[in-house]
Assembly symmetry: C2
């Protein structure tokens, strides 16, 4: 059985008959201050003993952990893989490890996760469409960790950087497209109503109606959670309560999938009887059958972008465009009827 040891810089130093400082220099391959031959000797010892420098110890010495925290509502939700991948990819490319946590759309849990990451002294945090209120976040800044927001825009004072889709515009575009198609009773089905994105999309939905001089019916406004299951439930509710509707916009592709699935099962034809538009253009939207019409944003890129910004502030670099909002695009597929559309509104 080989030696099962984690060695320390002191051991290596002793073995090579040099000081810890010297070993430290070669580890961080400090270009100067160590002769070629000692460097070689040290490197050999390191290799032979399979020595791995203790990053934690290093972190406390330099007050820099090279870790960033990522807190999302629910890593189990099929919307997040893109985000997580974007963050891990960029972080990894810059030598940062990423710590993940779930907030479960719960402000207390979210605060808890955020603080737990502070305890671990992450250099920066990426908070995904949080439920935190402005005051908490503002206060949170006292901990002096770089904070990036994705999917939510506050005033700029609460974070170092943020990127989000324009949810109002997104809600507007999908509703407007349906209105233009002649629909007058468009159901709006949202996920968690506490999330700011939900409220913003609803606002867009309202604006589209107002702009067209149409009323908004309270009974057509549903909300629950961002899941396939809830989509099913919502479809059942609409049908069971015999609420009349001729089209649907949703706050998530997952909800959309659940609804389509259930609607179809109950004999409602899509898009002939009911047109429907999802949200987010996840991988699923195009694969689903029928393929979902939806509102698209480049989540992976957005995740990479916010990670870049956060790391920039960590490393003291200039952050250009700290607060960005991206214009969502309507992607028309099979759950809507074709009609001329040129991204004109």
């Amino acid at each position: 059985m080989p030696d099962r040891q984690i060695h320390s810089i002191a051991e290596i130093a002793q073995i090579c008959g040099v000081s810890k400082a010297t070993v430290s220099r070669v580890i961080n391959n400090n270009p100067k201050g160590v002769s070629a031959e000692t460097r070689e000797r040290v490197l050999r010892a390191i290799r032979e003993l399979n020595y791995r420098p203790n990053a934690l110890a290093r972190s406390i010495a330099v007050s820099r952990s090279n870790m960033i925290g990522l807190v999302v509502p629910d890593v189990g939700n099929l919307f997040y893989p893109q985000i997580i991948r974007g963050v891990t990819d960029y972080a990894d490319s810059k030598g940062y490890a990423v710590l993940v946590g779930n907030s479960d759309y719960n402000p207390e849990r979210e605060a808890q996760q955020l603080l737990s990451m502070v305890d671990k002294r992450v250099d920066g945090i990426i908070l995904c469409s949080g439920v935190s209120n402005r005051d908490f976040l503002l206060d949170f800044r006292r901990y002096n960790v770089a904070l990036g927001l994705i999917g939510r825009s506050f005033d700029t004072s609460v974070s170092n950087a943020s990127i989000t889709g324009d949810n109002v515009r997104g809600g507007y575009k999908s509703a407007a497209y349906l209105i233009r198609g002649g629909h007058r009773r468009i159901a709006y089905v949202e996920g968690n109503p506490d999330v700011s994105g939900s409220r913003e999309r609803l606002e867009g939905y309202r604006q589209a109606h107002t702009a067209a001089g149409l009323p908004v019916y309270q009974e057509l406004l549903l909300s629950g959670e961002y899941s396939i299951q809830y989509g099913r439930l919502a479809a059942d509710q609409l049908l069971n309560r015999k609420i009349q509707f001729d089209a649907i916009t949703t706050g998530s592709d997952l909800i959309a999938i659940g609804m389509v699935s259930q609607l179809l099962q109950r004999g409602v034809r899509i898009p002939e009887d009911v047109e429907l538009i999802g949200f987010n253009n996840t991988e699923l939207a195009s694969a689903f059958h029928p393929a979902l019409s939806t509102v698209s944003k480049p989540h992976y890129d957005m995740a990479q972008y916010i990670t870049e910004q956060v790391i920039r502030v960590v490393e003291g670099e200039q952050v250009k465009l700290p607060h960005t909002v991206v214009e969502p695009q309507l992607v028309l597929r099979e759950t809507t009827l074709p009609r001329p559309y040129d991204n004109e509104y």
Copy 2:
């Protein structure tokens, strides 16, 4: 602007006029060794200064980080949310944070991620259906971190615990069901062929054919990657090459979804013309239209389970059932034709 400071135990000690040891005692609410009033005084200072103990410093002092590492092939793949959620849930409940990394099905990348977690001195690692070979893993044990494997079974010497579905049985069951349905040219479409699960499922597929006295045709064996996109591609290949097939088993629901999607589009009826069975019973399988018949395993529970085991070894507790394999179940839905089946083989 409020103070933006991270304080240290020394500051708190000084402010309260006590020693660091005392502050340490109250932080770890060491029940004995500090009077009620000093405790109160210290707690107040902590609260007022918003002091957060440095977990990194603590980690190096106690040689325990309360972090566990999770490395999966691709956090962006829709199969992993369940796993990640299972791991984070259990870890969180026990006070552990989780570090995630992608291996991209690449042995070098995987080794890199594993070592990077060693550097961060995670207490344990959960490796998800890795591509590492036995020798590497065996050698890896030198670093003395608890290792749990999910989705892959080696001989027990390379890990402290493991859990996996019985892929051979899974492959067998789906092929056998199709054979029993009278099919004789069953395409087998896999993801990354380097992953052990792929080979095992293929083995099951072979066994089912052998048991029925049927030949296996090389041209019906495809593999690529675990994605919707590859499923589409595979469907096209089969069709374009005019390869005759009357049923399909796949190594992943994602591949299945891609295939169904493309097959339907090209006018192949499912299940009338071609029956198809997915693998893993992800959330998508039941939501998809038509709902996927598939092979099911309780991934979330498995993830929780392996995390529990890993944490047990970290905490020096007994690990019962360290190496577990779970029997997969055939779940029949709409991509297969109904016929009597009682999980009898």
